[in-house]
């Protein structure tokens, strides 16, 4: 093969372990941006260069460059942070950010609207809070998810420990992060020194995502990630070991059928103490086998498709020295969160709050998420857990503290639930900051849900639990292809509608209709709702129904995602 490596490979190679010219670029005061190569590298440091797309049209006329700012994504393994850390982040977003936080679908915080001149101050405050952004984005292992599972405290403690261990083990070792953001001095080191024992100079071919699921909840969408661990509990509710899944991923490109979302395969079972060795082997095989020529074909899912699961498993076993056993049985029931108070086996209570699209902000005259959560953080001694559904759990509340937290929830108008459709809804950020967005998402989904709720209510389906997710582009941040109703931005005001995914996140959806505007989305769904109401079987989920009722063909896995698309009935 003499094919040229992708541009990002050359950028990584030349970057001297993620330094590039970032330090110099930060000193350029008259632009809020950084050069393109550095914009690729800065992702590895946990941030994206973005611009306010609402303002693009006016900027040139006003003789100003794009309204650049940075989105900073934290790395919070398992989504667990302390109330003190939350207070630090609250200070940062009020001081340097846009006064809001975004809880993401991958259990972390995103801080938006931080301008270049404030980056270092922000990064120093994050560091002082014992938090980091290193490898929150980029071609590396990103934030490791695990089920926040407050009512199974021992399983949670074990899976959280694994999430943190995996995160630490696979963290880039380059000193560039400290040099650029914190210390300012380049730490001397011989060129021949092994800086990145796992990654090497060019890191991974593409992003890499790991999750840990604790059945029966599949809230982390285990099949949608490169590497997954499904906890297998013994009869003492302790984690015995894990089924290992590989090759999941959401992203695709419109009009390019060789790109597709894919559900991970269950590769086998390993003991809990083998998980790290298995993970490292999966990462290094992907490092060596992954496609570095075509970035749209570089995720692990394509490596598995191209090489076959058996070959991949064999290589992983060889490198890790772990012989994987046959997968053990497990059952998933849903992907959603359990809202409100729950109690756990350790005698504590946990409050799951419903935060629409994960946007933590103070609405003038309305809900005061930011202030309310800070006030709770000021009195709370347990922890804060972000869920993979963009929600937040006030976890480990002693019984005597419940009242005071309930009072703060009420005082600030915080919510612990919503209508059935809304509490099962997720949207990515999209416009105005995301550079990839083709259409609105976070700013539009709430209105669409309102309109759909009205239709559902008209059919007597107000209480139906249906998972609906929207993204502004086909890259799939809110995992729309595993939602029963998936809406993917195609252009301004236009969406592709996907149907047929499983409620428990175990089956992909399929394209039902393309290029729909608001009215057409409702017009397409309304008759299906009506049919669902009259034809559904007992306990039958919407995603299963549309396949049985032949509205849409089932997608078995990624390779047939683009086959037999369209409405069938």
């Amino acid at each position: 093969m003499t094919k040229e490596l992708s541009r990002n490979e050359r950028i990584k190679e030349a970057s001297a372990y993620l330094r590039g010219t970032l330090a110099e670029g930060l000193r350029e005061e008259i632009t809020g941006g950084i050069i393109e190569d550095d914009a690729q590298l800065v992702k590895f440091h946990g941030m994206y260069l973005q611009d306010d797309r609402d303002l693009r049209a006016e900027r040139v006329r006003k003789k100003m460059e794009k309204a650049f700012s940075f989105m900073i994504r934290l790395r919070v393994p398992g989504g667990v942070c302390t109330p003190g850390q939350f207070i630090n982040l609250d200070h940062i977003v009020r001081t340097y950010g846009n006064g809001t936080m975004r809880l993401t679908t991958r259990q972390t915080f995103q801080l938006h609207g931080i301008i270049k001149s404030n980056l270092k101050a922000t990064m120093r405050e994050i560091d002082a809070a014992l938090l980091t952004t290193l490898a929150a984005c980029g071609d590396v292992n990103r934030n490791v998810l695990c089920n926040p599972n407050p009512y199974q405290s021992r399983a949670h403690a074990a899976s959280l420990a694994l999430a943190r261990a995996l995160s630490d083990h696979l963290l880039p070792r380059t000193p560039a992060y400290r040099e650029i953001w914190l210390d300012g001095e380049r730490i001397a080191g011989g060129e021949e020194e092994v800086v990145e024992p796992i990654y090497g100079k060019t890191y991974l071919p593409r992003k890499f995502k790991i999750v840990i699921a604790v059945p029966p909840s599949n809230d982390v969408d285990v099949y949608a990630h490169d590497l997954g661990f499904i906890a297998i509990l013994d009869n003492q509710h302790e984690i015995d070991g894990y089924n290992v899944t590989v090759g999941g991923g959401m992203a695709m490109t419109h009009g390019e059928p060789e790109t597709y979302p894919r559900m991970a395969d269950v590769m086998g079972y390993c003991r809990a103490d083998q998980a790290i060795a298995v993970a490292e082997a999966v990462v290094t095989v992907q490092r060596d086998w992954g496609d570095r020529v075509n970035r749209k074909h570089a995720r692990l899912k394509y490596t598995i498709e191209d090489r076959g699961l058996d070959a991949f498993r064999a290589e992983v076993e060889q490198r890790s020295g772990v012989k994987l056993a046959a997968a053990k049985p497990f059952t998933f029931t849903s992907t959603g969160d359990r809202y409100g108070w729950t109690e756990s086996d350790n005698g504590c209570a946990h409050l799951t709050l419903f935060i629409e699209n994960g946007r933590v902000k103070d609405v003038p005259g309305g809900v005061q998420w930011l202030t309310g959560l800070r006030r709770i953080a000021e009195v709370h001694d347990g922890d804060f857990r972000l869920t993979a559904n963009q929600n937040l759990i006030i976890a480990n509340v002693p019984k005597d503290k419940r009242k005071s937290i309930e009072a703060l929830v009420a005082e600030h108008g915080l919510t612990t639930g919503a209508s059935a459709l809304r509490r099962n809804a997720m949207a990515c950020v999209a416009l105005p900051t995301c550079g990839l967005a083709l259409a609105e998402s976070e700013r539009y989904l709430p209105d669409l849900v309102t309109a759909l709720e009205e239709r559902l209510a008209a059919h007597g389906l107000a209480e139906a639990e249906i998972v609906i997710r929207m993204t502004g582009c086909p890259n799939g941040c809110s995992r729309p292809y595993v939602a029963e109703i998936g809406l993917v931005g195609k252009g301004p005001g236009l969406y592709n509608l996907y149907l047929g995914a499983a409620f428990d996140g175990s089956r992909l959806s399929k394209l039902y209709a393309a290029d729909l505007d608001h009215g057409a989305i409702i017009a397409n769904l309304d008759p299906i709702f009506a049919a669902y109401k009259s034809e559904r079987r007992d306990g039958e989920h919407f995603g299963d129904y549309v396949i049985r009722a032949d509205f849409i063909a089932a997608t078995v896995n990624g390779a047939d995602f683009h086959k037999d698309t369209g409405a069938r009935r």
Partner: protein, 584 residues
């Protein structure tokens, strides 16, 4: 034959040299000989000895001036002309250049001094003023003197500098031969009268006795500005440079002219003829009980300053209305008047102490509407026959009323692309670019950036070899970075060497240009040591002083000087005309 016989070093502007070369270059020997003879003859004619004024040698008269906007400067040149006719030998001294010690030998002295901002001397006069007021000032025993003060009644410390100098000259032993007159913005007439009186009092006795008639037009109609009369312009571009998410509104105005643009140079200003806000004028007329007077409405809108509320306005309101409102008189006598007028305008006075006025009475409590000057933000070498202005819309809320700047509000709210307006060139030779090889440092936060856009355009067009360094500041980097793309281009093409920015609202601690000056003090002092010119444009109230203080601190730190010695170093920049200010 050399087609460009006139050297670049000839004392003409570049385009004039080009024109001369076009004529002289191809001229025949006969034509050249004729031209040489003609020019020689012309020169003799203009320098021919004037008829002798008198037998006795002329008495020297020192005319000292302190100017900010150029008004004092124009008056002194008129006064010098008149003085010559009266047998005096005038010498004009800019306070910027004054060696205070030389005053000891002066026998006749007039001072025309402007007061700036809140009772400050004009920036260029700060040093000499300080020395004159200080302990080292020389005695002036027996010297005859008079002071003309220029000011603005809208400011509470009206004519403070003229008043202080008048008292100081007397304290130093001078003999006042003419009483001080304090002039408001409409100074031309009172200044003219004062000059006549002063010259009579200062002229040698025998000359004054002959009753010579002096006829000179004073002030506004000075010959030097006659060719700069108002011209019509069309707004060819109108852009609010701030982002739609900014709390500020800074308007970039491009003006086109029917023929040539006024012959402006970088650093000059254009004066606009503002109009008062129609709704405001209506409120005012209503409050005065004159709502139906259309002629008055027109006059007030275009011709009168109907917003300024000064102590003088209060006094005149009380007097004009025959003290119908005892409260106004009581307010004036109580000493609270200053506090009361702060943040208020004429409309508040009329609404607070309502009296039905006659049109004449209303006119009497107002003064003529003054022109508003804005630094030109372009170079003709880059934009051709256009002139660009940068105008920040002043809007604020006080005492429950939305207020706006008269001129900036007019521009922002009333003017649109395609409309026509009258403008008048106001040259500013004290804020001009130095020789092309000299380095320049420009400090221009907010609209203070305007003349520096002209500077950079000019230096790009002329390929000036000197380095240039710009300090800019505003509130938010993202929403208030004026002309950002142009500065990026200028840095790329080298017409701007470096740029430092300070945005005050992006960080918890406010960052201003003076902080950046402090950060960069080593390089800055280095540039100044190698002869760089230092320009400051923008807010006079705080910024200009803060910048000067920062520069003093910079010298003290970099060169390990005492504060006094560092101040001296900055004063030396003044003396060398390398510290130049255009503030407002």
């Amino acid at each position: 034959m050399n087609s460009s016989p006139i050297p670049n070093t000839a004392p003409f502007a570049e385009e004039e040299i080009e024109i001369l070369n076009r004529v002289v270059g191809p001229a025949s020997p006969t034509q050249r000989a004729w031209l040489a003879g003609f020019l020689a003859g012309m020169n003799t004619a203009t320098t021919a000895p004037q008829p002798a004024v008198g037998a006795q040698p002329a008495e020297p008269l020192t005319i000292l001036y302190a100017t900010e906007s150029g008004n004092s400067e124009r008056l002194v040149s008129d006064m010098a002309k008149a003085a010559r006719k009266m047998g005096l030998k005038p010498s004009i001294v800019d306070m910027a250049d004054l060696d205070v010690a030389t005053l000891a030998s002066v026998r006749r002295l007039v001072v025309i001094a402007a007061t700036w901002g809140e009772g400050d001397p004009p920036a260029r006069a700060i040093r000499a003023y300080g020395e004159l007021m200080g302990e080292g000032a020389p005695r002036l025993d027996g010297a005859l003197f008079g002071v003309l003060a220029l000011g603005d009644t809208a400011y509470t410390e009206f004519c403070a500098i003229g008043k202080a100098l008048d008292a100081r000259l007397e304290a130093l032993g001078g003999k006042r031969v003419v009483d001080r007159v304090d002039c408001d913005l409409d100074f031309a007439e009172p200044a003219g009268r004062w000059i006549k009186t002063a010259l009579k009092a200062l002229a040698p006795v025998e000359e004054a006795g002959r009753g010579r008639v002096i006829a000179v037009d004073f002030g506004a109609k000075a010959a030097s500005t006659a060719d700069l009369g108002p011209v019509e312009a069309e707004i060819t571009e109108f852009i609010d440079l701030n982002s739609s998410q900014s709390e500020k509104e800074t308007i970039h105005l491009e003006l086109g002219f029917d023929g040539a643009a006024p012959p402006y140079k970088p650093g000059d200003s254009l004066e606009l003829y503002p109009e008062n806000d129609a709704a405001y004028v209506d409120d005012l007329l209503k409050a005065a009980g004159l709502a139906s007077d259309a002629a008055l409405r027109a006059e007030l809108t275009k011709g009168r300053d109907v917003t300024t509320l000064s102590l003088k306005t209060l006094e005149s309101y009380a007097a004009t209305t025959g003290h119908q409102h005892q409260e106004v008189k009581a307010l004036l006598e109580s000493g609270d008047a200053r506090a009361w007028i702060a943040g208020r305008q004429l409309i508040d006075l009329l609404q607070f102490f309502p009296i039905t006025l006659s049109a004449d009475q209303l006119l009497q409590v107002t003064r003529p509407l003054a022109l508003r000057a804005y630094s030109i933000a372009s170079s003709r070498r880059e934009v051709g026959e256009e002139a660009h202005l940068l105008i920040s819309a002043v809007r604020y809320q006080s005492f429950g009323r939305a207020r706006k700047g008269v001129a900036s509000g007019h521009v922002a709210d009333q003017l649109k692309k395609g409309q026509r307006l009258r403008v008048k060139l106001r040259p500013n030779r004290h804020f001009a670019l130095p020789a092309p090889e000299r380095d320049i440092i420009m400090v221009g936060p907010g609209t203070g950036i305007a003349p520096f856009r002209a500077f950079v355009q000019e230096r790009r067009a002329t390929g000036a070899s000197g380095r240039s360094w710009l300090f800019f500041g505003d509130r938010h980097f993202t929403h208030d970075f004026l002309y950002q793309l142009e500065w990026q281009d200028a840095l790329k093409d080298g017409s701007l060497t470096r740029m430092d920015v300070a945005f005050s609202r992006d960080t918890p601690e406010k960052l201003y240009v003076q902080h950046r000056i402090w950060n960069q003090r080593r390089d800055l002092v280095d540039w100044l040591d190698s002869g760089a010119y230092f320009y400051v444009c923008g807010d006079a109230k705080a910024m200009a002083k803060d910048v000067r203080t920062a520069l003093v601190r910079a010298y003290a730190d970099v060169k390990a000087l005492s504060v006094e010695a560092a101040e001296q170093a900055v004063n030396n920049l003044d003396r060398e005309h390398r510290y130049l200010q255009d503030t407002y």
